[in-house]
Structure formats: structure tokens, C-alpha cells
């Protein structure tokens, strides 16, 4: 009995620091966001006025918020789709095919991931520059002048230009993740299937994809979270939400309201919506993609 007590005490002592830090730096601020969303407050003074759900009512009628929500969802869908397809493709090529300079490509693909987002914004501002940029000049070399665009100036395509930069920086990271789970698939599966006449594409869809499915599911949650976060940083550094709000994503809109429009409480209300949205989306995706885990 005494031993059991001692054991419990030991476990408590070991976990206490982590629990204290967790509640202090994660739980308390999260609860605080929810509490502040019910107040009207500029952010500095002691003048906090309780307004109930008024902030959420205003949010419901705020067209600019819905535009930023639209942009965020668009980015989550487009970036996830392109990044996943490209990184699975590259991972398969690099782990299944005997290519020259395998390791070299692995490093090259991974490099964007270690760059800070501000550097990436700098690189892509240079790539997208209308007159001296790489993209428009490349199109000119191939005599495709008609395709030249104001990549960050045209409101219809600016958000896709942001998406392009996000895909570029994410591909390497997910590629390495998929490669690691592909490496654990036994070679004998491929040998057996090729004896039975399966080609590379059949092998990919019948062996590789099912066996890394669990990994893909996990990364889907990562895609949602990282697109929400990184799109904010990239938009802040590259376009500031412009031209005329066309690249505003919901985190940048929240920041704008909380810090530049003196509406901190309103900003927190947006924060609550984003919090619930990302939780719900992750849960739904996780449910929808649930498959029986294949063991081997």
C-alpha cells in the first residue's frame, strides 16, 4: 500500500512541471481567447466592456471576414492537393526508382523547408515581379507573352500565387515523411507482385498507397494546421493582404482587426471561429479517411 502511494506520488512529481507549464501557457491563454471574444476592448486600456455574443453577430454580417474565410479554405484545399500529389510522386520516384543523384535531390527538395518564411517571401516576390521577375521572363523566353501576368497584382490570381509559394516550401517536408514510411514496406511485396505481372502503377496503387495510408492521414491534419499558420506569415510578408484585401486570409484578418482596427475583442471572436473551424475540419477529415490499418 505504502509502495503504491509512493509510486503515485513519484508519477505526480514527474508530471507536475509539464502539467503546470501546459496549463499556464496553453490552457489559460486558450480560455482567455474565448473569454475576450465576449468583450469590446481596444487592447490597452482597462476599459473592457462585456458585450455577450455581439462580436459574433457582427462577424456574421462581415463580408470581409467571409472573403478571408473563402481565401483560407481555397488555400487549404489547393495547397493540400498539390503538395500531397507532388510529394507522394517525388517520394515514390526517389525511393522506388534507382535514380542518379538520389540523395542530392532529397536535399534540394528539403531545402525550402529550412528557409524562414520571410526569405521565401523575398524569393517569391522576386520570382513574381511583373517586369524583372523570373516567371514572366521565362514565359517570354518560350514566346508565351500572352500568359504573362501581374502575379501579385491581379486580384483573381494573387491568392494562387501565394498558394504556389506555400506548395514550393512544403513539398520537401512531406516528401521526406512519405519516404520514411515507404522505406518500411518490405521489398518482397514488390518482388512478389512483379512476378505476378504487376506494373509500376499497379504496384503504387495496390501496395505503396494502402501501406502508407495511415501516414497520409496524419499529414492531412498537418496540412490544415500548417497552411492556416504559414499562409498568414506569407501574406503578411508578401502582400499585406492586398491588393484591396484580395489575399487576406482569416488569421491576417484577425490580426488586422485585433491590432490595427483597435478591436481586440472582435479579433478574439475571429480567433474562436478559426479555432473551432480547424478543430472541426481536422476531425471530419480524420473520420472520412479512416481505413482499416494494414499490418505487415
Amino acid at each position: 500500500m505504502n509502495k503504491k502511494k509512493e509510486r503515485r506520488f513519484f508519477i505526480f512529481v514527474c508530471t507536475a512541471p509539464a502539467l503546470i507549464l501546459l496549463s499556464l501557457f496553453i490552457l489559460v491563454p486558450t480560455v482567455e481567447v474565448f473569454r475576450m471574444s465576449l468583450y469590446k476592448w481596444g487592447g490597452f486600456s482597462n476599459n473592457q466592456v462585456f458585450v455577450g455574443l455581439e462580436n459574433f453577430r457582427k462577424l456574421w454580417n462581415d463580408l470581409n471576414f467571409f472573403r478571408s474565410l473563402q481565401n483560407s479554405i481555397l488555400l487549404i484545399v489547393v495547397v493540400t492537393l498539390f503538395t500531397m500529389v507532388l510529394s507522394v510522386l517525388f517520394a515514390t520516384l526517389l525511393s522506388r526508382e534507382k535514380l542518379k543523384g538520389n540523395n542530392f535531390f532529397r536535399i534540394i527538395f528539403y531545402i525550402p523547408n529550412i528557409l524562414s518564411i520571410v526569405v521565401i517571401a523575398g524569393i517569391f516576390s522576386a520570382v513574381y515581379d511583373p517586369s524583372t521577375g523570373l516567371l514572366n521572363n521565362l514565359l517570354a523566353v518560350f514566346k508565351l507573352e500572352s500568359l504573362q501576368k501581374m502575379w501579385l497584382g491581379d486580384q483573381k490570381i494573387a491568392i494562387y500565387s501565394i498558394g504556389g509559394a506555400l506548395v514550393w516550401q512544403a513539398v520537401g517536408y512531406y516528401m521526406v515523411m512519405y519516404m520514411s514510411s515507404m522505406a518500411s514496406i518490405p521489398e518482397s511485396f514488390y518482388e512478389a507482385s512483379s512476378l505476378e505481372g504487376a506494373g509500376r502503377i499497379t504496384q503504387f496503387f495496390s501496395i505503396t498507397l494502402p501501406l502508407i495510408w495511415n501516414n497520409i492521414r496524419t499529414t492531412l491534419t498537418f496540412f490544415i494546421i500548417s497552411t492556416i499558420n504559414l499562409s498568414f506569415l506569407l501574406v503578411q510578408a508578401m502582400t499585406g493582404g492586398g491588393p484591396d484585401g484580395s489575399t487576406e486570409v482569416f488569421l491576417s484578418y484577425m490580426y488586422k482587426q485585433a491590432y490595427t482596427n483597435s478591436s481586440y475583442g472582435y479579433g478574439m471572436a475571429i480567433g474562436v471561429v478559426i479555432f473551432l473551424f480547424s478543430f472541426a475540419l481536422s476531425a471530419i477529415i480524420s473520420q472520412v479517411t479512416k481505413r482499416e490499418v494494414l499490418e505487415y
Binding site: F9, P17, L59, D62, M150, L152, T239
Partner: protein
Amino acid sequence: MKKKLLMAGSIVLLSLGLMACSNDNAKVDSKNVKTSSEQQTLHVAALESAYGKDMWTKVVDAYEAANPKVKVELTVDKNLEEVISPNMKAGNYPDVVLLGTGRKLALPETMIKDNALEDITSVLDKKVYGEDAKVKDKLIPGFTDTLVTNPYNNGKTYLAPMFYSPTGLFYNAGLLKEKGWEVPTTWDEMWALGDKAKAEGIALFTYPTTGYFDAFFYSLLFEVGGPDFYNKAMRFEDGIWETPEATKVFEIVGKLAKYTEKTTVANGNDKDFTKNQQLILDNKALFMPNGTWVVGEMKDAPRADGFEWGMTALPAIEKGGDRYAFTFFEQMWVPSAAKNKDGAKDFLTYVYSDEAAAIFAEAGAIQPIEGISSKLTGDNKLFYSIYDNGAKAGMGGFAATDAVEGVSMADTLFGTVNSIVSGDKTVKDWQKAVEKVSDQLRPALK
């Protein structure tokens, strides 16, 4: 068991230590205040703008030499809001801050909305530190009668005017001379010049970002309807944005959008705006709205042969009409929660002394004090003489309101210019949207 208890104790102590850090800071601060009777500490925070950082170090050194009782702690940063805001939220306010309104993070605006600024009307009646003249006698008249310095429009001053700069249209005087073109004095002449320039592959107009349209718009409002109309617009009077005068303003900007250089929108953000300014240096565009700081900002940039900065007031609506060059100025203010407000007010008088003004002027920052324009040299002499050459000065900005969630006059009135240039919105829709925002802000007026 003893050992385990000891370990548990030490862990708990460590965690508590973490939490206690903030308390320690508070203690240190209260000590500072106690000793203030002998040796005062004054925390000055200033924005590092195009004028550079050195002038602040020099002014603070000079102040400490003149007033040995004061020890100044100086914070100068390009992103001043981000440096001082976290401390302010924790209750540690700087005593005096140089940071103007109209910046993206809108810190002074937030302080105004929250009634968190100290009334500094009394400073105007104080003597300038180390001199016999009163502050109000040294200031150029008009500067403390604006909605910027008296945001609540109640005759009390909350923000002190600092470094002023005429704004207007900047251009390459060398290019105009070479081509034999006259600087346009009316908008009709402007459009005619635009067509001539177009034939040579030069755009008439560009702008760094839409944020630069504030002074431009204010000047246009003055030209079109005079000071009375301008003040009504700034106080969101009902229907003011739908009057024929306002319609004229929107039409002029709408027409100007057609003459705007085509890459302007793509580079019109905080990161790439210098590329738009470069268009003037490269003779790819003729005019841009800007302030005198642009000369310092672009001093290392490559430029066309024979380049020479020129600046003009906005063209008049019709021949013989008023021409305005809006006066932009930064502000210095004292947070109500500052610990050493008296020290802050003394320092506020010092920044208008001849000694301080000379140090600022050396870096190109011109204080709004009487007789300063006669002491200027170089490009500045030309720029500040714009008012001697017939241009009228406009000052002020939108009246302060309580925060209205999701509504921003700056975004709607200035930010939309990008959509007008790119053709995504029509001038009519823009005008309607501005009137709607004005309707939403009116009930929130302070």
C-alpha cells in the same frame, strides 16, 4: 524517500521561480519611481523613420547634458509598436513616445480610442526647456488646431506636432526640362501631359502604396470644397461623400487610375513599394504622391541621367483655383499610464528648443517652429518653399471614433484605389462604399 522529497521540492521551486519572474520586474520598477526625487529616469520611445536613429541619440545626450538630474532610457526602432506594445500590455509604459498616426498598426489611434493619452495642453504654456519663449509662441500657428493634435475636438491637445513635411507630387524635374514639358497647374493640363507622355511610353502616375493616398485625398478635398467641406468630410457628416464635390474627387482619382503605370498594383505593398518609387527614378512614370522623406529613402537607388527631384502641389480643379500641398507631421504623446509624466512634459518642451531642432534638422527632420524654413539647405529648401510659391497648406485627418468592428475608413477610401486601377471595382461602387463606412462611423464619433 527523503531524496525524492528533496527532488520534488526543487521542481516545485523551479516552477514557482518561472512564475515569479514577472513579479521581480514590478519590484524593480517601483524602486525606480521611489528614487525619482533625486535622479529621474525618463523612458523615451521613438520611431526610427527615414531620418535615421542617430539624431535621437544626439538629442537625448544633449538633454541629459542640459538636465543632469534626468537619465534617459531610449528605445528607437523601425517597428516601434511591436517593441513597446508587449511591455505596455504588461503595464510598463514609456513616458513619452514619438509615433505618428496613420501607420498600419495604428497604436496612437488605439490609444485615442481608449482615452489612454495624457492631456498635454499645459505643455503649450510652458517655457521651452532652457529658453525663455513659451512652446505655443515658438510653434507655427495652426499645428495645434487640427483633429490630429486635438482628436476629441474639445480644444484640448493630446498629441504634440513633430517633424513636418509638405507632401505633394514628386517628379523628375530633369526629365520635364529635357522634354520641354511644363509642370501642370490644373487637372486638365495634367491629363494633356498624360497623353503626351503616353506617346513616349511613359506613364503619368504611380503610387508607392495606397496608404500614400491619405494626403493626396485630403488635398483634393480641400481643393474641391475648401476647408469647411474638408472638415465636414473628416467628421463623417451625413451624405457628404455623395455631394457633387466628393463625386468630382472620386472622378479625378478614377481618371488618374487609367493613367497609372501598370505594375503599380503588383508592387503596391509594404515590401515592394520602393519598386514603384523607382519608376520615377527610371523615368517610367512622371508623378507620385509622396513626402520629403522619399529623398532620403531612395538616396542609394540608381537613377536616370540628369535626375533631379521636383515637387509640386496638386493641380487645381480649374484655372486659378486653390492648389494644396498637404502638411504631414508626426506626433509625440504621453500615455496616461506613464510613470514619469512631469519628466515627459519637460522633455516635450525641450524638443522645440533651438538646440534640439538643429540636431533634428541636420538629419532632415524639420520641427514646426517659426523661422525654421529660412535655415534649410539643399533639396529641403526647395520642398519647404512650396508654400511660399502659392500652395496652400492643409492639415488634420479623420476625427477619432470608438472602434467599429470590421469597419475601416482607410481600407475603404484608400485601399480600394488598387481595385480601381486594376478595374475590379467601379468608381460608383467605391463612392457608395465610402458613404456607407462614413454612416457606420458617425454614431461612434468621440
